[in-house]
């Protein structure tokens, strides 16, 4: 400042102005740079979080796609084979499941009745009809989440040998929270959604799911709903 005071007040003022404008420029540059860094961080965070969350959502629970829906049932013939899709593979890996191979059998699931309403543990259903050709089959009902110990239902499924049939070979399973005559399958939970699983063992239809239609699978009919 000794120099500037020697030159004069005018030069000192212009120097001050120049330094302040340089400061302003510097600040503006820093702001643009920081906003660019901010946008970069924003894009990375958004991408990382969205990607991980969507991957977690798609692979937790059931298979997101790859099934063949037949009426209210969905067949999963390829869930465990070498050419299964990456999502099914990830779902199996997370659950530790060993799906049925094509030569072994096939899994069919149902989460809604024939009118499209979600299967509810407080309602009663009638499963009637025939099953596709198979050496043996089992039909099971599961609820969501683990049950507290000591409250396991008396029965969670039927096998094709156990079931009581009509004289023409047809059968009817009554899925209900109340005790029923005949083939009574108790509801596994007091409330909430339930799922049905039909497993066909040693069946020719695993290789040709397209040959199945609504009439070759048991119909799921809601017969009543308790409050």
């Amino acid at each position: 400042m000794a120099l500037s005071s020697g030159i004069g007040p005018v030069a000192a003022r212009s120097a001050r102005e120049e330094s302040s404008s340089r400061l302003r420029r510097l600040a503006r540059g820093a702001a643009t740079r920081s906003s660019r860094v901010g946008l970069f961080v924003y894009a990375l965070t958004l991408g990382g979080l969205l990607g991980l969350a969507s991957a977690d959502y798609a692979t937790s629970g059931g298979y997101p796609f790859g099934g063949t829906s037949i009426g209210s049932w969905t067949a999963w013939p390829r869930a465990g084979s070498l050419d299964s899709d990456p999502y099914a593979r990830a779902v199996n890996a997370r659950r530790g499941d060993i799906p049925l191979a094509v030569g072994e059998g096939m899994l069919l699931t149902a989460a809604s009745d024939d009118e499209g309403r979600t299967l509810d543990a407080r309602c009663s259903y009638r499963l009637a009809g025939v099953t596709p050709p198979a050496r043996a089959w089992t039909i099971t009902v599961t609820g969501r989440g683990a049950l507290p110990p000591g409250q396991e239902p008396v029965r969670t499924g039927f096998t094709s040998t156990e079931i009581l049939r009509e004289t023409d070979g047809r059968f009817a399973i009554l899925l209900s929270p109340e005790v029923q005559p005949g083939n009574w399958l108790p509801m596994p939970r007091p409330s909430g959604p339930v799922r049905l699983a039909l497993r066909l063992y040693d069946t020719p239809v695993a290789a040709s799911v397209g040959s199945l239609d609504r009439d070759s699978l048991p119909a799921i009919e809601r017969t009543g709903c308790g409050s």
Binding site: L50, S54, D56, G80, A90, N92, T138, G157, E162
Partner: protein
């Protein structure tokens, strides 16, 4: 900050999200520690299947009972294999109950057979690599009929699953016993070498 820069950043974020999503889904089976492939390795030292879903009750086997939604009337056992030790032989006797054996690699099942394919009441499956298969073919005695079903595995390591269906509750103990009765052994080479003395069975 201009608005267009923000939208550009959001678009980049969505593209990154897609890449992260695909990479994560593809990476889950490879790095999973709770999948059947990893858990089945507890059975590697056994010469019979590790029961992972028993029907008759009783204490579960160590490292077993992990199936998320098992069929309540099917007894399941697994045998893990590593073909570096030699071909794996799965021998089952067809009994009164329906039995099925499937072969899995880490990517999925590559072979399955039921007891209807049994020859004279027995089912002999041998899982081998391509090189072991060629060796077995070369060692075959001309004119001698083998009843082994030879399967070429797509990868070195994997596991076999044995399922036995108990059609009635009274057959549950029999089904568990039928799973235990299957043997999973490592085939010794046709001409025993010094590296593997007294290993497996012929």
């Amino acid at each position: 900050m201009s608005r267009s820069a923000f939208w550009l950043a959001t678009a980049c974020g969505l593209v990154i999200a897609g890449i992260v999503h695909i990479a994560t889904v593809l990476a889950i089976p490879r790095f999973s520690e709770g999948d059947a492939f990893t858990r089945a390795r507890a059975s590697e030292t056994l010469d019979h299947p590790l029961r992972i879903h028993g029907l008759a009750g009783g204490p579960p086997a160590a490292g077993g009972e992990w199936l998320p939604n098992p069929d309540p009337s099917v007894s399941v056992g697994v045998c893990s294999y590593d073909l570096d030790d030699g071909p794996m032989r799965v021998s089952a006797q067809a009994g009164s109950l329906m039995l099925s054996v499937s072969m899995h690699s880490r990517r999925g099942a590559f072979y399955a057979v039921t007891d209807q394919a049994a020859v004279r009441g027995g089912l002999d499956l041998v899982v081998m690599t391509r090189a072991q298969y060629d060796e077995a073919l070369a060692n075959d005695v001309a004119g001698e009929v083998t009843r082994d079903v030879r399967i070429i595995a797509p990868s070195r390591r994997g596991f076999a699953t044995v399922r036995v269906i108990a059609a009635l509750p009274s057959e549950r103990a029999v089904a568990d016993a039928a799973v235990q009765a299957v043997s999973c052994t490592i085939d010794s080479p046709a001409e025993p070498t010094d590296e593997e003395p007294g290993r497996g069975k012929g």
